[in-house]
């Protein structure tokens, strides 16, 4: 315990033996850390080495050592490939749409739920809106396909009822992105609202009481008390979402798209899957992975930097 009182400056001057004794004291904690460390080395850091195949003519049979270096050939091929450029563009567009809807919907939902005073009703609504979070995109995709089916789908029934013409919605390029954005919001918004509900619950009730005494209406209380109170939460979530900008929703898209909508719906992840796993052009697909990773990394750093300047609340 006496080690606690040693100041930082003194720590640096400690002889090696004392340092080692300090480390030895925590041997059990290091041992507990070991399995997780081994896991990240195997499944997170070894793949970083695997990135080198993007710069090789990688051949599965010859492996790393037997494959020749290819320089930037595959990156050049990518930028000349119409399909890659298309997937890149779609990723950004779909992500931006989702960034807006997937970011605003949960905040609005949390604010609305917070205004419900009947506890059992609020609880019922919450349980109901969380529901889709607990099924996979395979399940949800199957459900959506049923709802949107041309002959028997409910959505087409509603369209007809309003005097519209029924259509095979999932193969129509004009609707595909809208379908992605709406179904993503339906599946995730309830769950994403929890974090804002938690932040709202943590606000000081006295401020509300003061606002009521001052005669602030409900809308005013939301605008001037609730919203400012959860700003830092909103910013952190926004940063996290910006960091995911290069991932437009692989699980969702791969379960909903089809060749008819590649033009508007193919994203980097689905492109990488098709090229790399289905067509086995591993080096080309890995090059796309590298581009995706670097831009994604830059996005997180940028968003974090901005958040620190705006609100002094970066996440690392």
């Amino acid at each position: 315990m006496e080690l606690v009182t040693v100041s930082r400056a003194e720590q640096r001057e400690q002889p090696l033996s004392r340092q080692l004794r300090r480390v030895w004291k925590y041997k059990w904690l290091y041992a507990m850390l070991l399995p997780a460390l081994a896991w990240v080395i195997l499944f997170d850091y070894l793949p970083l080495y695997g990135i080198s195949i993007a710069f090789m003519d990688y051949n599965v049979i010859q492996g790393f050592s037997g494959s020749h270096w290819a320089g930037l050939t595959y990156f050049r091929t990518l930028f000349e490939s119409e399909m890659f450029v298309n997937a890149f563009k779609n990723t950004l567009i779909i992500s931006l749409y989702k960034l807006i809807s997937g970011f605003l919907c949960p905040i609005l939902l949390a604010l609305a739920l917070n205004e419900i005073r009947v506890v059992w009703f609020k609880k019922t609504l919450q349980t109901a809106v969380y529901l889709p979070r607990f099924v996979s995109w395979v399940v949800y995709g199957g459900i959506i396909a049923l709802l949107l089916s041309p002959e028997t789908g409910i959505v087409n029934k509603v369209i007809e009822w309003f005097g519209g013409k029924p259509a095979y919605l999932l193969v129509e390029p004009a609707y595909f992105r809208t379908i992605l954005v709406v179904t993503d919001a339906m599946k995730e918004m309830g769950w994403a609202a929890i974090i804002y509900m938690a932040a709202i619950a943590g606000l000081n009730p006295e401020v509300y009481e003061a606002a009521i005494v001052d005669g602030a209406s409900r809308l005013r209380r939301i605008r001037h008390v609730t919203l400012p109170g959860i700003t830092s939460t909103i910013i952190v979530i926004f940063i996290l979402r910006v960091g995911y900008l290069m991932s437009a929703g692989l699980d969702q898209v791969i379960n909903l798209y089809n060749p008819m909508v590649f033009e508007v719906g193919d994203i980097l992840d689905t492109y990488i899957y098709r090229i790399g796993i289905e067509q086995f052009s591993l080096s080309l697909a890995a090059a796309a992975d590298v581009i995706k990773g670097i831009i994604g990394f830059a996005m997180v750093l940028l968003a974090n930097h901005l958040a620190k300047r705006i609100n002094d609340s970066g996440i690392f």
């Binding site: 904690l29 399995p35 969380y130 992975d289």
Partner: protein, 291 residues
């Protein structure tokens, strides 16, 4: 508290909109169940409008759950992966979180950085695939258990929780002569049950619902989890030949089969989650303390 007319209208509109939203979110699930128990003749006669089943038939379920069906094996794989995976994941996550929650641990900042970095930059799908292949894990029984067994994000949720445990509690036990292991077993773990439950349940949903890792790493149908089998049933309108073979007859109309399969796969989580919902909420809240 007196409400103005505007506020009353606002309150009423809020109730109505939220109820509508909830209906829009829940109806699809209800509809799927309804279609899965409606005979095809009724389904097509009503042109798909079977929001409330008028006649029941469990033919689709009987067909899918016929003896020797591929679904049984796949369900077994999913159950095994989920049970084994959650145990392993909790062990890895809790141990690392506990160690890193100790503020005096020499090298703590560097070690933490090693974990945080994995959330920021990833090797990507193909480099990871190559790594799994080189490690000889492709198509093994335990590949899916292993690849999902740790998430730095969940580790940080748990670490935040452990950091909240009062120091004095552990110190007094240490003074009483309890060993590190003993402190962990009889003090830390019991008070950490809410965090362990919520993180464990997050892992559970991940394991149960995963299909993409299976799509990448498992090609042998006998090792495929149930989500992957479901995908072949719903993604292509034609059934996988294995499933037909197992059933040994021509399939009834596929839409009902698809919906029955969806119900079979999704039901366990849908039944469970209202009971475990509070742990999920707790987990999110522990996580949000950090923000």
């Amino acid at each position: 508290m007196k409400l103005t007319r505007g506020e009353k209208a606002f309150g009423a509109a809020n109730y109505i909109l939220l109820t509508l939203l909830t209906v829009v979110i829940v109806i699809p699930f209800w509809y799927v169940i309804s279609v899965s128990v409606t005979p095809y003749s009724v389904f097509s006669a009503k042109n798909g409008m079977v929001l409330f089943p008028t006649s029941f038939s469990f033919d689709y379920y009987a067909y899918l759950l016929k003896k020797g069906s591929l679904i049984y094996g796949a369900y077994g794989v999913t159950l095994r992966n989920t049970a084994g995976g959650v145990l392993l994941a909790l062990l890895l996550t809790a141990m690392a979180a506990y160690a890193l929650a100790e503020k005096r641990l020499p090298g703590r900042r560097f070690l933490l950085l090693i974990f945080v970095f994995t959330m920021l930059f990833k090797g990507g799908m193909i480099p990871t695939y190559i790594t799994i292949k080189q490690l000889g894990l492709l198509n093994t029984d335990y590949v899916l258990i292993l690849v999902m067994a740790f998430s730095a994000f969940n580790m940080i949720i748990m670490k935040t929780f452990f950091e909240g445990i009062p120091e004095s509690l552990r110190e007094s036990a240490a003074i009483d002569g309890a060993s590190e292991l003993r402190i962990l077993r009889s003090i830390v773990i019991p008070i950490s049950m809410p965090a362990i439950a919520s993180v464990g349940l997050l892992y559970m949903v991940t394991y149960w619902n995963d299909f993409f890792n299976a799509l990448l790493y498992v090609t042998d149908w006998h090792k495929a989890p149930v989500q992957l089998v479901l995908r072949t049933i719903v993604a292509s309108s034609s059934l996988p030949p294995e499933l037909l073979e197992a059933a040994g007859r021509t399939p009834p109309p596929t839409i009902g089969i698809q919906m029955a399969a969806i119900v079979i796969v999704a039901l366990p989580m849908l039944i469970l989650y209202p009971f475990i919902q509070k742990y999920f909420e707790q987990g999110m809240m522990i996580g949000s303390v950090k923000g």
